[in-house]
């Protein structure tokens, strides 16, 4: 049985090409070449100028995220049999292309780093580890699994328009991951860090992030949780603060 697979792949080498173009490929795959990454590696044997990232080849490292038939995903865990042909491959949208399917993820990681994605706890280090109850640990489920492939953030139009200001779904989910961590002591600071009208509030809930996440995570729920938490915190602060200064709402003094 013929195992011919057709591809249409975005090609761009800034040293040589004036502008990007789509290149057609047809390749006979072996029976064991089930995944898209297998096909790409066969193609690379045929044309070694084709450039992409890959590493673990099992959906853990997030290196080979790309736009597959119009939808972001990981080549290594996408079955060729599930794809319409020709398989159209492009780099992830919204980030500068370095070459072919490789994008410059600096903006993505800048946004990620801006939420301080690490535990902040000023207490002296315990001898062994900072303990957590199973219930508190369970609150991190659905967030800690993120592999930072960038599929969600680069499929978000809000990130396309404001990549320098909007944190993006991946970064915001990590912000929520540390906000929800019982061992973290910087919740107020983290919420404050997301208060400007761009960093969190550019999310308009179109849920592309949920649609494309290869790990089946839900960044949109994490973003909603941050907003809910802000409201909860405001209620708590208000009930504990008996000496409230006068406030202004759209210029009108209240309280």
């Amino acid at each position: 049985m013929s195992n011919l697979v057709k591809f249409q792949i975005y090609r761009f080498n800034p040293d040589v090409d004036k502008k990007p173009y789509m290149q057609d490929y047809s390749i006979e795959l072996n029976d064991e070449d089930n995944m898209l990454l297998d096909g790409l590696m066969r193609l690379k044997e045929q044309d070694d100028t084709l450039t992409m990232r890959k590493s673990c080849r099992e959906g853990v490292c997030g290196s080979d995220s790309m736009n597959i038939n119009g939808k972001n995903g990981l080549a290594c865990i996408t079955k060729i049999a599930d794809l319409e042909q020709p398989i159209v491959l492009r780099p992830m949208p919204g980030l500068p292309v370095i070459r072919d399917l490789v994008v410059d993820m600096t903006q993505f990681f800048d946004a990620y780093n801006s939420v301080k994605p690490y535990l902040i706890n000023d207490n002296p280090l315990p001898e062994a580890e900072r303990l957590q109850s199973p219930e508190d640990r369970a609150k991190l489920d659905g967030m800690y699994e993120c592999i930072l492939c960038g599929a969600c953030t680069t499929s978000c139009p809000s990130f396309w328009w404001n990549p320098d200001k909007f944190v993006g779904p991946a970064g915001l989910m990590q912000a929520n991951r540390f906000i929800m961590d019982s061992r973290d002591q910087a919740t107020e600071e983290r919420l404050e860090n997301l208060e400007d009208p761009y960093r969190l509030y550019r999310c308009h809930n179109i849920m592309n992030c949920v649609e494309v996440c290869p790990k089946k995570l839900n960044p949109n729920a994490a973003i909603a949780n941050i907003k809910d938490l802000k409201i909860e915190r405001a209620k708590e602060n208000d009930s504990s603060d008996s000496t409230k200064p006068a406030k202004k709402i759209f210029g009108i003094t209240i309280g």
């Binding site: 404001n162 009208p197 960093r199 509030y201 802000k230 405001a234 208000d238 406030k247 202004k248």
Partner: protein
């Protein structure tokens, strides 16, 4: 109370929350007016005139439209933030929308109080 989230201390939250609060007011009015319409079933000019005659109903209608205009203002501001990067152009476009909404508000008030 959540009201402190509408202060300048929360520049992002107050816009987001205002949009939702105005939506709640609009939803309440729409449900109310649908119930009233189902009960009274006005037909013809005189009946509609009578429907809007009570002062409390005109005030409620005005509140509904003020919320609608605020909701629209917030929505347009959001869209402009997303797509218009030139700050001067964005400010002019926002002013244009502001003027239009104020004009609508005067027009609406004129309609409600000159029936």
């Amino acid at each position: 109370m959540v009201i402190q989230l509408l202060t300048r201390k929360y520049p992002g939250m107050r816009l987001w929350l205002s949009q939702r609060l105005t939506a709640l007011v609009m939803a309440a009015y729409i449900i109310g007016i649908l119930i009233l319409l189902a009960i009274t079933q006005p037909s013809g000019h005189a009946a509609w005139h009578g429907f809007f005659a009570p002062i409390w109903f005109r005030i409620a209608t005005l509140v509904f439209f003020v919320c609608l205009f605020m909701h629209a203002w917030l929505g347009v501001a959001d869209v402009l933030k997303d797509y218009v990067f030139n700050k001067t152009l964005r400010a002019y476009m926002q002013i244009g929308v502001d003027l239009l909404l104020v004009l609508y508000l005067f027009w609406l008030s004129f309609i409600l109080w000159n029936m």
